[in-house]
Amino acid sequence: MIEEGHLLAVFNSAHRVMKAENILKAMNLPILIIPAPSKLQTDCGMAIRFSEDILDRIMEVLASEKLLPEFVTRYEGGQFVRVWTNSSHP
């Protein structure tokens, strides 16, 4: 489900991740909502998976909708590397 180079936007609320999914899908952005891997400790256990080429677009949309995730991580070399953290989250 998660391959090299995939990005995951991890959310802290089921309502926020579902709302974000609807908005991104309505814009025809190729995303997939998936259970967050157990390695990534999350509150709601859900993440939105997408590819690097649409990272900027996704962040732009989520920011304008006030639906920024808790953090964004990239899967590389068998590990998750955090590439962005929401500074408003502790």
Binding site: M1, A14, M18, L32, I33, P35, P37, S38, G45, M46
Partner: protein
């Protein structure tokens, strides 16, 4: 060799006719319509250890020749592993409550099956559950992986027909009620969602 004509028969009549005929003789030729009837009969016979050869006949139907396989081990259906577990999915949503949440829970459940060490032998999709195996489903990627891992993915042909999605099946095979019933009755455990 006896020949039976199962063209223009509604599912699951072709499989039942073939089952009865094979109880009386070890080899058989069957005329069938293409699609689910052909797939179901071929799978049924192969699962019982028969050899099946398929050829298209002049009338654009299909002729299946079913013969006993002397080299075959015990038929697969009577040789199932003791841990055979069947997952029966009868809806495209999991549980009662808001549709959106039910849909999310079902997708998540199917994706999570990939992470478990104890996968079911088969997953049967009935009623609106067939929306998960057909075009547009967000569970397709996970179901394809499960299929590649040896989990049998079967969708109810009657349901595909009812929802007019017969030509939109994207993972696994079509099945009929006889196979569904047999799968459920033979399973060591059935988990219904």
């Amino acid at each position: 060799m006896k020949c039976i004509d199962c063209r223009n028969m509604a599912c699951p009549a072709p499989v039942i006719s073939v089952k009865k005929a094979l109880e009386e003789q070890g080899e058989l030729q069957v005329l069938l319509d293409n699609g689910a009837p052909r797939e179901n009969v071929a799978r049924f016979a192969r699962n019982r250890g028969f050899l099946v050869s398929e050829e298209q006949d002049e009338t654009e139907g299909w002729a299946l020749t079913i013969t006993s396989d002397k080299n075959a081990e015990k038929p697969r259906v009577s040789n199932r592993l003791s841990n055979d577990r069947v997952l029966l999915i009868t809806s495209n949503r999991l549980g009662e409550g808001p549709e959106e949440l039910g849909s999310l829970l079902m997708k998540t459940f199917i994706h999570t099956l990939l992470e478990t060490s104890d996968q079911p032998a088969s997953i049967l999709f009935l009623n609106s559950g067939i929306y998960l195996t057909t075009e547009g489903s967000e569970a397709l990627e996970a179901l394809e992986k499960l299929n590649d891992m040896g989990v049998e993915i079967l969708s109810c042909g009657l349901c595909l027909d009812f929802f007019e999605r017969k030509d939109k099946l994207r993972v696994g095979n079509t099945t009929n009620m006889l196979t569904t019933a047999e799968n459920l009755l033979r399973a060591t455990q059935v988990i219904t969602l």
